[in-house]
């Protein structure tokens, strides 16, 4: 449900709840009792569920992730005008949905990947507001990047399966697929965000700034 529709639903529920507060005597009749049940039980619970779902969906958006000050540099790294920067190349060419760029690459595709990502987000919030947040360039992944995130899209793709470098050594592809050789290891696709080590890079910005979902 769009955010505006959710807000309208929530406000409508609040107005009806106000009606019960101002005129509780309307609950004397049978219809009033049904109204009270709907207004003080069903609608609040439904509104809360829809609101939480709305926030959960919004938390997957690129703008949501980049709304934290500490993430600004990572947002800028998506606009580096250099195809060797992995995150920038994926974002600019819509290899990942541009409006869910962070979430697409930083959440597992396993059954509980979304839940893990949300719990990780809560931890980030705790550190951001109550802890000592690190400098952007000092932010590290909790664990090595999982190749399965890359293989979710690239497995079976011609450029991946028949790539010259990938096939230079017969052991390379099986090692990548088994997550024994990281895609972002040194000498491979090691330039990801590289915040703090940009040097003299140029930035690219879309002429039409509206970010659209890739097909």
């Amino acid at each position: 449900m769009p955010t505006i529709a959710t807000v309208v639903l929530v406000l409508f529920s609040a107005i009806l709840a106000c009606l019960i507060v101002v005129r509780p005597e309307i609950t004397v009749t049978r219809a009033g009792k049904i109204l009270a049940f709907g207004v003080l039980f069903f609608l609040p619970v439904f509104s809360l569920a829809v609101g939480v779902q709305n926030e959960m969906t919004r938390s997957e958006s690129t703008t949501f992730c980049l709304s934290c000050h500490i993430m600004e540099s990572y947002g800028r790294s998506l606009h580096i005008d250099d195809p060797s920067y992995l995150a920038a190349a994926h974002f600019q060419n819509h290899r990942v949905p541009a409006d869910e760029a962070c979430y697409t690459c930083h959440s597992d595709y396993a059954m509980f990947g979304t839940i893990k990502a949300k719990l990780g987000g809560l931890r980030h919030l705790y550190v951001y507001y109550l802890g000592t947040p690190p400098l952007p360039q000092d932010i590290k992944l909790y664990k090595p990047f999982n190749n399965q995130v890359c293989l979710h899209c690239h497995l079976g793709a011609r450029s991946f399966e028949e790539g010259v470098v990938h096939n230079a050594d017969p052991a390379t592809l099986p090692a990548i697929k088994a997550n024994k050789l990281s895609c972002i290891s040194s000498g491979c696709h090691e330039m990801v965000h590289n915040v703090g080590h940009w040097g003299d890079v140029k930035f690219w910005y879309q002429k039409n700034q509206s970010v659209r979902r890739s097909p």
Partner: protein, 72 residues
């Protein structure tokens, strides 16, 4: 009963207003505020309403001299 309904209504209304504000406040902390404060207020309001229903039914039945199940 009316007083309990009022308290429940006030809690639910405040909770819903908090939720509405959080939905329009596009910051990561909004989710936490929505769940912790909005959810808590709405949850307590709904529980208060249910408790008021549960506690009011025997009272009103007693007052009218009917058992709750026979009234319904």
């Amino acid at each position: 009963m009316n007083r309990r309904l009022r308290i429940s209504g006030v809690l639910v209304t405040i909770g819903l207003l908090v939720e509405g504000l959080c939905l329009m406040w596009s910051r990561p902390i909004a989710f936490v505020v929505l769940v912790v404060f909005g959810g808590m207020l709405i949850g307590i309001g709904v529980l208060f309403f249910l408790l008021s229903l549960a506690s009011a039914a025997p009272d009103s039945a007693h007052a009218s001299g009917l058992a709750p199940d026979k009234r319904q």
